[in-house]
Amino acid sequence: MDTILRIRDVRYSYNGRPILEIGELDIARASITGLAGPNGSGKTTLLKLLSGVEKPASGSVSFKAATTSRANENTVRQRLCLLPQEPFLLRRRVYDNIAYGLRIRGGKGDLAGHIHEALELVGLDPSFAVRRWNELSGGEAQRVSLAARLVLRPDCLMLDEPTASVDMESARCIRRAVLLARREWGTTLIIASHHRSWLNDICDRIIYLYNGRILACSFDNILTGPWEDVDRSTVGCRLSDGQMVYACKPGHTAGSAIVSFCDLEACSSIPGQNMKSLRGLINSITLDNSQAVPQAAVSCGDQRFVVRMSGNLQEAKQYWPGQTVTLQYSPEKIIWLEK
């Protein structure tokens, strides 16, 4: 893999509280990586570390095999761009906002041409260039912020919830622009978003973060408790529909845990040995983008689980949204997450 960004043993804390702890992460050149996770899972912090805006307390972040240091941080940061969640524009015209990055890089010549091109890329008319920062809607401001980064043609563009607070038209323009950047210039994209279907559609790979750590699977299957004692060796988490998820009692206080399900079953059946089951309703069936494996989102009360279907696509066609299914799991295979 041609790695453009590499993280090794990175730790980041704020006011003594650990925020992020990542042992190993490689981002391939010209790839699209999605970052998913609940609020406070460390997505924004990871983007800041990758873009060089923040420095880790320990460990290393490398760009094109060169570890980011004080000596090369400006050079590295000029090749990486981060689009923060909240669009922020300088108190200047749109033209000057987009030109800012070019100017601090010593850009001269046909700035206007580049700026108009960047505006068109994000679906804005070049006449927007003369508008002032306070004459734009939220969606337009977000698109101007993106244009200010696209005009720099960065090696790697990181987007933090780019479509969180914009209308559908702006979201569509943002999506089209970043995909074009990848296709035309080979820009590596890293996108943090709660918009799961979007990430599933466009990402080559999705990284799930939880409590500042990378999870091996989707965070949908995390149960946060509360857990109650069932017997000496078992604890249970009661779902809102009254069903109970059982797990082997951990050595520490029961906190959050990941439940892995075997497969879906359309009919209610007796669970196998050492297995437990839950009944739920299929919300949606999608494809796991990286491996083209069908997966179903199943609701059991308020809890949503994602179950990868082991069969092929043909077999998956026997399921449909709204269908009631049985999920089997092994209490012994429930993984407890460290607090």
Partner: protein, 229 residues
């Protein structure tokens, strides 16, 4: 009441006829306040930026000290500067006593806390995402400083106007350090004090009007800049 009206009339006569003594005081005031404001802005803006932007141990204590110095009495500054630049003082060899440069030193000390405190406030009130935005666009430390100062320009204008007002209207420093020497270190405010003591109200009022006109011109130009900003 008559003498006040007569004073205003005479004031216009002095100004229109180009009275040399009046214009000498005006020129001295413009010179010394320009010099002191230049120095205080050059030193005060970077210091105010550091105080408002950076987070370092003792920052709150320094901020309290700077805020306290906003109330420094001009006569006390005059006394200190006099002690330092008089022949017996540590800076006596530079011959600054009874010169416009000496007055400018004192006025710069007077204006500095105002510039620092108001710059720090302006920088503190900048939008939080500004730094992140600049960093994410690849700006270096120097570029972040210059852009932040530009973004805080309205606050800096307020700092400059406030400090200029204080410098233009002070008497204590000009009197003690400058000595109110005719044709040499006599500024508008010291001239007004002297003329009033002599009972020459007309000259005093004339000089007062000039002072107001200068303050008006400064505010007018800054107001123009603020509209453009």
């Amino acid at each position: 009441m008559d003498f006040i009206v007569a004073g205003i009339v005479k004031a216009f006569q002095l100004l229109v006829q180009g009275d040399r003594e009046t214009y000498s005081a005006v020129l001295a005031t413009v010179k010394v306040s320009s010099l002191s404001m230049t120095v205080s802005l050059l030193i005060g803006i970077p210091l105010g930026y550091c105080l408002g932007y950076a987070d370092f141990p003792g920052r709150r204590s320094i901020r309290t000290m700077v805020d306290t110095m906003l109330s420094l009495p001009t006569v006390f500054i005059g006394l200190l500067v006099y002690a330092f630049i008089s022949n017996r003082g540590p800076l006596g060899e530079y011959g600054l006593l009874f010169t416009l440069s000496g007055i400018a030193v004192g006025q710069a000390i007077l204006a500095l806390p105002i510039v620092i405190a108001l710059t720090a406030t302006a920088v503190e009130s900048l939008d939080r995402p500004l730094r992140l935005t600049l960093l994410s666009l690849g700006a270096s430390g120097r570029q972040i400083f210059l852009t932040s100062i530009w973004e805080a320009r309205l606050g800096l204008l307020v700092a400059a106007v406030t400090a200029t007002g204080r410098v233009l209207t002070e008497v204590g420093i000009s009197m003690m350090v400058g000595g109110n020497i005719k044709w040499h270190t006599r500024t508008i405010t010291t001239a007004i004090a002297l003329e009033t003591n002599k009972g020459q109200f007309a000259t005093g009022i004339a000089l007062g009007l000039v002072l107001l006109a200068i303050a008006f011109a400064v505010n007018l130009s800054l107001s123009f800049l603020r509209r453009r900003a």
